[in-house]
Symmetry: C2
Subunit: 248 residues, 2 copies
């Protein structure tokens, strides 16, 4: 049974507290003073747990809140009338999700948990109120939105101008960099998404993604086994992007 994406308070919910959270430098409070962060605690409502494969929200849902991911992974995707899907992003701990809803007050994409996850629910009207009072919050929120725009432009570059292997290399480097920022290994990580989902994000078919993984392994750039990836030559991956792979 699909779960409606509103803001339910269940027994499992705990009151969140930004001031107690260790994601500070990744999340909304970044750059704010301690006093300001304490005031954030009034803003951030309940936490909400989302099980693997469940929706955080669906396209068409009324927009009420944005979400800060505390634990876990999500994907967002848009669907065309004829059923074609396009993954528009993979979001991890410390990232904000739901910004698409502001423009029309209705979510324009679907957000699905890739593993059991937990988000902080940030009521949007409260966020607007509070960011009129707290300059640091306002500024950081604007940065978060702008960052999303810049990221999207990067994806356009990827989809519009790069070949299959370059796209995958860019994808892996991006993941690596995001893991690093969270204190995890830059070289070794576990993919939360399937080849098909990666393919959708990168504008490729799953077979092509799989072949590119195998090729990278043959070339000694990475070692892959299913969802486990170890980057063995990060410079090699970088070069692959800079020197538009052997177009003879």
């Amino acid at each position: 049974m699909p779960i409606k994406a509103t803001v339910p308070i269940t027994a499992a919910d705990i009151k969140s507290a930004c001031s107690q959270c260790n994601l500070l430098e990744l999340c909304l409070p970044f750059g704010m003073t301690e006093t300001e962060i304490n005031r954030l605690d009034e803003l951030v409502g309940a936490r909400r747990k989302i099980k693997r494969q469940q929706h955080l929200y669906r396209a068409g849902d009324p927009f009420e809140a944005i979400y800060a991911i505390r634990i876990g992974w999500f994907k967002t995707h848009v669907v065309l009338e004829d059923g074609r899907e396009q993954v528009t992003g993979f979001q991890m701990t410390g990232e904000m999700i739901g910004l698409d809803g502001i423009s029309t007050e209705t979510h324009s994409c679907n957000a699905i948990a890739l593993e059991d996850s937990e988000v902080c629910v940030i009521a949007y009207n409260r966020l607007e109120e509070l960011s009129r009072e707290i300059e640091g919050l306002q500024h950081q929120f604007h940065k978060v939105m702008s960052r999303e725009i810049v990221r999207d432009h990067g994806v356009m570059m990827l989809l519009g101008s790069m070949r299959a292997e370059e796209r995958l290399a860019a994808f892996l480097l991006n993941l690596s960099q995001r893991f690093t920022a969270r204190g995890f290994s830059a070289a070794e990580f576990h993919l939360r998404m399937t080849r098909d989902e990666i393919g959708s994000y990168l504008g490729l078919k799953l077979e092509t993604v799989s072949r590119a993984f195998s090729k990278f392994q043959e070339d000694g750039l990475i070692s892959v086994q299913q969802k486990h990836v170890r980057i063995t030559d990060i410079e090699g991956l970088r070069k692959l992007i800079q020197h538009p792979a052997a177009m003879r």
Copy 2:
């Protein structure tokens, strides 16, 4: 000689006034009360004229302002180290440009006028100040940013999941819709960009764009002559997208 993209006051500049402007319902003031709009006049600084092919700003420029297009057309594009370019958008009258700069306080793309154009310069620090005071401004500004994110997701769908002719059809329908919103003909318009620029935006080569134009003409969907386009069967174009063109 390239012009540095700062905020120069030249003899040609006139003080702008949102309250006197006829772009209200397309631009930042949308949804604001008359009193609020009057206060906007303190926000919007000089106008600035940009000649065809000149930069409004460049990637790497320090971010100081966003711009509302009063007259004309722009393209934004990002450039990879190896020189590959990707057009990330075409912006017309009433649209905001420069939002990419907020995240890092440095512009991340280039904005170039496609024809002689004029923008209103909106100092970003003043915008933040004022939108802490005027709720309607804050809300509208957030909507503008969110709309950009949603638009970008649409482009990802286009680049990642659609075939050449579908992409061009979607592009023409999008232009048509934006012209309509400005009171121009939905069916007949003048393209401000070259086949090459359209191709870059759509992730196609200029030859493919040209062939798709010719195909649409053969099929009686449009008539094209150089940059002049007349849509003769708008429903036909829509169908083309909904029914993933004959993949036999």
